[in-house]
Symmetry: C2
Subunit: 317 residues, 2 copies
């Protein structure tokens, strides 16, 4: 009998979420552990195993599990290693091998943004699409690229770092954590939006309800609430952010000519405030042949499920 | 018996070059016609046929020809149409179908930069590579992208327009023929180099032997000759051009994580004058994980053969 289920793992810097997924993309059971509680990788894998076995047993036992798919920070599809993940207690470990040995089933690995793109392709807004780009707008900006129906991993497994393409080559470009200047993620992540809000508040005298907040703690949610209430500065922040993102998307379109760009993550909750300037800037900056032809859409997966679903999709391969 | 030869066509705005190619990439015979002499597509195809039959007969006749591969301006691999080629007398025609009917063998089409990349992958510097990006530095800047051993055509067949990604988002960015501003090709094509030379000569008082030339007729060859003779302004022009190209290449690396970038076309004749600043800017602008890891190389195909070879490679598919 074909084994009917897979185990998906979404490993974040804070939580590690596990889910049992069937072939139609239903999450039958889920559980989680705290990632940072385990300073040694073996202890972490043991804890994952113990927790996973509870939900695995609830669906009929390990014999029904075809494999494990994991989305992790800096997960490398080719090598199965986590490689250079500075936000984890074990930045460099052969994770797929460790999991596979512990569970006795095959384990495949990819990075978290690729996992989200896999989820989108298999179960979400990009179902049936062979060419699309997924942009994750979270704390940082990540990306997963699908060409001709396949995830792009590149020569070394690290393809799709679009958050670190250059959005601003001027001397005033923002400093990125990666060491470079002007990276897209310094403008279009949740942190980027907060940075823009802080800049406008501290360098202009424009009237805005955002001034009432602690300038170091403004979130994209605060900016959204202000925009909804008619605040002009909040709208300006989204216009600025969306314009920068749309311009960069135009360059991505020139690379792989995708059918669609799928936006995912916290910032998408700002709806049309972010979507409108993105679409305008994209169409203002693509070659005429692509004008008004490339779809821009929000992910339609529940954010809590997308990464687990995407990771689990790897295990069906 | 397997048919041992294919016919390759490199259609340029000026010349259309035909070659008979064997499976090892030897051009057994070649000929050409003047593209612009035929104002109607049927007359052009007739002329190609008459000319091609001479070399086809010289190798044993049409029964030995497996198919035709054509690289053309704006050639679309999916549809077989030339679509929007403003430098041809027939900007929109179903070229593959017309050729296939006339010759009685299958014809496949792609754009000229993709053809060059196919040639490089099949017979040139990128032989054996599964992930590379070919950048053609000619009158304009073109590109052909190979991922996982396959040409990237994208959703609509027009992927790989990297010459029209944005190299400069400042208000002073150069105007491109495509209608956009700041496109890479306004800086890094042969025309771009000439434009840079003209700018430096007309806006500075720097001493340079380039001043002795007609400022509207300076070519990249003139700049190369001056650099070789020790001219500091000529070196500055290559540094400027190469730095802009290298920065953009860094963004392309973040997209598809290629093993190598292959540079092709007239500007590569400037050798280390262009290569050195390209490599420096690339490594200054990639994420640390790619620093000094992505090869940058010049094409090692004869320029006269590369496009014919690349186009012909399509016919083996």
């Amino acid at each position: 009998m074909e084994k009917p289920y897979v185990l998906g793992l979404d490993m974040g810097g804070t939580n590690s979420v596990l889910g049992i997924v069937d072939a139609r993309g239903h999450v039958l059971a889920r559980t989680s552990i705290k990632t940072q509680e385990y300073k040694e990788i073996d202890k972490y894998v043991d804890a994952l195993y113990n927790e996973a076995m509870k939900i695995i047993d609830s669906v009929g036992g390990i014999d029904l599990i075809r494999g494990i798919g994991a989305g992790t920070p800096n997960g490398n599809y080719y090598t199965g290693w986590i490689d250079g993940a500075m936000n984890l207690p074990w930045p460099r470990v052969p994770f797929a091998e460790l999991m596979s040995k512990k569970f006795g089933v095959p384990c495949k690995l990819t990075n978290d943004a690729n996992a989200a793109a896999m989820g989108e392709m298999t179960y979400g807004a990009a179902r049936g699409m062979k060419n699309f780009i997924m942009i994750t707008l979270g704390t940082g900006v990540g990306s997963g690229i699908v060409i001709d129906g396949k995830m792009v991993y590149g020569h070394d497994g690290f393809a799709g770092e679009l958050g670190h393409t250059c959005a601003d080559r001027s001397p005033l470009a923002r400093q990125c954590n990666c060491g470079k200047k002007g990276c897209l993620e310094t403008y279009c992540s949740a942190n980027g939006v907060a940075r823009t809000a802080k800049e406008i508040i501290s360098t202009t005298t424009k009237e805005t309800m955002l001034r009432k907040l602690d300038v170091d703690k403004i979130t994209s949610k605060d900016v959204f609430d202000a925009a909804e209430a008619g605040d002009e500065v909040a709208k300006e922040i989204f216009d600025y952010t969306g314009t920068i993102l749309g311009r960069s998307l135009a360059d991505f379109v020139a690379f792989s000519a995708p059918e669609a760009i799928v936006l995912f993550g916290g910032l998408t909750k700002s709806g049309h405030w972010i979507m409108d300037p993105v679409v305008k800037a994209l169409n203002d900056n693509v070659l005429p042949l692509w004008r008004d032809k490339v779809k821009v859409m929000f992910s339609d997966l529940k954010e809590s499920d997308a990464a687990v679903l995407g990771a689990s999709a790897l295990a069906w391969e």
